[in-house]
């Protein structure tokens, strides 16, 4: 074995160790900050929904699902219901001023909101750190809630019931 080859092997080994560790660090970065890039894109592409602007669209899909309450399934407040009657918007987050307060380390202070659009309720993530899941999938754009869909924020899951 030539000296040079041994030298290269020796540098190579330490380098391989570090490449391994750094790639793991990139993984950890992802689980600390979430999918930041995608959230930013989602924010740019999806204008913020408000009940006012939505009403002007006059959407009516003829769907018979008219939820009247939010039922919390798991999490600290499991078992409680939040009535939806006469509400146009439900702000969800850790902030005490939210319509639905989620005290959970994984919820952002202003995490997501439900907006009443025509006959439907639309869920929009408000650029939260850990994202909002609808039926196990992280949402990136506003999504219409259908009967039986479960929403998960941190460790709290809830659904809309009529």
């Amino acid at each position: 074995m030539s000296e040079l080859a041994l030298f290269l092997i020796r540098i190579g080994f330490v380098a391989v160790l570090w490449v391994f560790i750094l790639s793991l660090l990139s993984v950890i970065r992802a689980d600390l900050y979430g999918r930041r890039v995608i959230n930013r894109i989602a924010k740019q592409n999806a204008p913020l929904l408000t009940a006012g602007s939505a009403a002007s669209l006059g959407i009516d899909d003829g769907d018979s699902f008219n939820p009247s309450e939010i039922a919390v399934l798991t999490g600290r407040t499991a078992g409680t219901n939040i009535p939806l009657e006469n509400k146009k918007e439900v702000l969800i987050g850790r902030a005490p001023s939210s319509d639905m307060v989620i005290s959970d380390d994984f919820a952002s202070s202003i995490h997501a909101k439900l907006v009443h659009v025509g006959d439907d309720w639309v869920l929009q993530d408000l650029n939260s750190t850990n994202g909002t899941n609808l039926d196990g999938k992280k949402i990136t754009t506003p999504v219409t809630i259908k009967s039986g869909m479960t929403i998960r924020i941190g460790t709290t899951t809830f659904e809309l019931r009529s």
Partner: protein, 454 residues
């Protein structure tokens, strides 16, 4: 996903299926490659050619890791995906280093070989980890018998002092031996103690954290609630007297402090605990010759009287010389002289790796430990259940503290102790205990996610 390098693929894979077993499988391939690289490099450097011998040191641990991976896939699908590859990487580096020291021993004509034993012990330890995963699928089972765990830990700690089976090596009474089999019960005791503290503190944290009077802006617990900390301090001192080893004693007391602090959120316990610990250590260094000698060797390793003394600083200084020779990028695996350090395969494997991998390599190893501890703390942070939180915290902290005490000792920052380097050092009981810790952390992380899903 065509045309992406492995490095790029890993974050993608993890994002798509978080903490998945598939990601673990990718990492296991990689780690097996690093292990083979290390063995090949050692053979090239020592004997200038590669031989099939390396398969013997490579294949059995790799197969065991895959068996463990299969068991995880079967029983704890959602468990953390980084812990197994990280622990296996350390285990593999340890085997490679011990193999390298064996080659030096053979060249010297010696008979003290450890690598073969280490290979089979690693396989055995991973098998035990698989059994732990299978048996303890729900960690709350452990909550049922905290006092039993505590009592078992005390028995294990006292065993080395028992007649007939107790053994004293290099001044520390840490071993028991039956025939040719020797065992270090203190390693298992740390897991049992973590279970005991978690169970005890979960049921007692109310009184421990709330009752008390305010003095100088600090909440002082009532005398009754100082009982446990005093009791455990006395127990740690007893361990020090019986086992004649400062490290073990500090490890258990540190574990206790961190767990009581986490359970109650009172800095007072940490403050008084640290004062008690330092006082205990200083008094012990005056009272007991074996602790005093370690202190002398630590404070003045290069003084002639310490260097030449029996059990003095010779070993420490050889380790320091070795690491200095290693410089930043190391002498290269197989190209240094780690065999000159006494007990390089067990107590001083950290110095041996420091010499051959250099500062860059040692930092990589410390980073791996850091990642393991980080994953453990993350499990503790995300878990719903208080008992599991405390247990995950205790287990990962005890691993981190042990690395700190050992690495500090070898580098001359702390007095040298009889603790082993987790996963790296030759020795079955340590491997067994540390793999069991990994198995428990896996089970804890799985149960945390299972709860969210249900």
């Amino acid at each position: 996903m065509s045309n992406v390098s492995l490095t790029q693929a890993i974050p993608m894979l993890l994002k798509a299926v978080p903490r998945s077993r598939n990601f673990e499988a990718v990492l296991l391939f990689w780690v097996a490659g690093i292990h083979a690289f290390a063995l090949a490099q050692i053979q090239l450097a020592v004997s200038q050619r590669m031989s099939w011998d390396m398969l013997y040191y490579w294949a059995p641990p790799t197969i065991s890791a895959w068996i463990l991976h299969y068991v995880l896939r079967k029983y704890v699908l959602n468990a953390d995906g980084l812990l197994l590859p990280l622990a296996f990487l350390l285990n593999g580096l340890g085997i490679a280093m011990i193999y390298r020291l064996d080659l030096a021993e053979i060249t010297r004509g010696g008979q003290d070989l450890f690598a073969e034993r280490q290979v089979w012990l690693s396989c055995f330890a991973m098998l035990i980890a698989a059994i732990v995963v299978r048996l303890v699928r729900n960690p709350l089972v452990l909550r049922r018998f905290p006092y039993l765990a505590g009592a078992a830990a005390v028995v294990l700690l006292l065993l080395p002092a028992a007649p007939v089976i107790g053994r004293t090596l290099n001044g520390a009474t840490l071993w028991i031996a039956i025939g040719d089999l020797s065992f270090q019960p203190g390693e298992i005791a740390k897991i049992l103690l973590a279970i005991f503290f978690a169970g005890y503190l979960v049921s007692r944290k109310g009184p421990l954290s709330e009752i008390g009077s305010r003095v100088l802006g600090m909440k002082i617990p009532s005398a009754k609630d100082l009982g446990p900390i005093l009791l455990f301090w006395i127990a740690s001192i007893a361990v020090l007297v019986i086992q004649r080893d400062l490290g073990t004693s500090i490890l258990y007391f540190g574990l206790f402090l961190v767990m009581i602090y986490t359970a109650t959120g009172r800095g007072f316990y940490v403050g008084i605990g640290l004062v008690m610990m330092v006082t205990g250590a200083l008094v012990a260094s005056r009272l007991f010759g074996y602790v005093g000698a370690r202190f002398d060797a630590w404070l003045a390793p290069f003084a002639t009287e310490n260097y030449t003394a029996q059990g003095g600083s010779y070993q420490l200084v050889q380790g320091l010389f070795g690491m200095a020779h290693g410089d930043v990028i190391g002498a290269g695996l197989g190209s240094g002289f780690p065999q000159l350090i006494p007990l390089a395969e067990s107590d001083f494997i950290f110095a041996a790796l420091g010499e051959e991998l250099g500062l860059a390599g040692i930092f990589a190893i410390l980073a791996i430990y850091l990642l393991i501890v980080y994953r453990g703390l993350r499990i503790a942070n995300t878990h719903q259940d208080d008992f599991s939180k405390l247990l995950a915290l205790g287990l990962s902290f005890v691993l981190g503290l042990q690395v700190f005490i050992v690495a500090g000792g070898v580098m001359g920052l702390l007095p040298l102790t009889g603790l082993t380097t987790p996963f790296l050092a030759a020795g079955g009981s340590a491997l067994l205990a540390n793999w069991a810790i990994i198995a428990l952390l896996m089970v804890l992380s799985d149960s945390s996610l299972r709860r969210v899903k249900e």
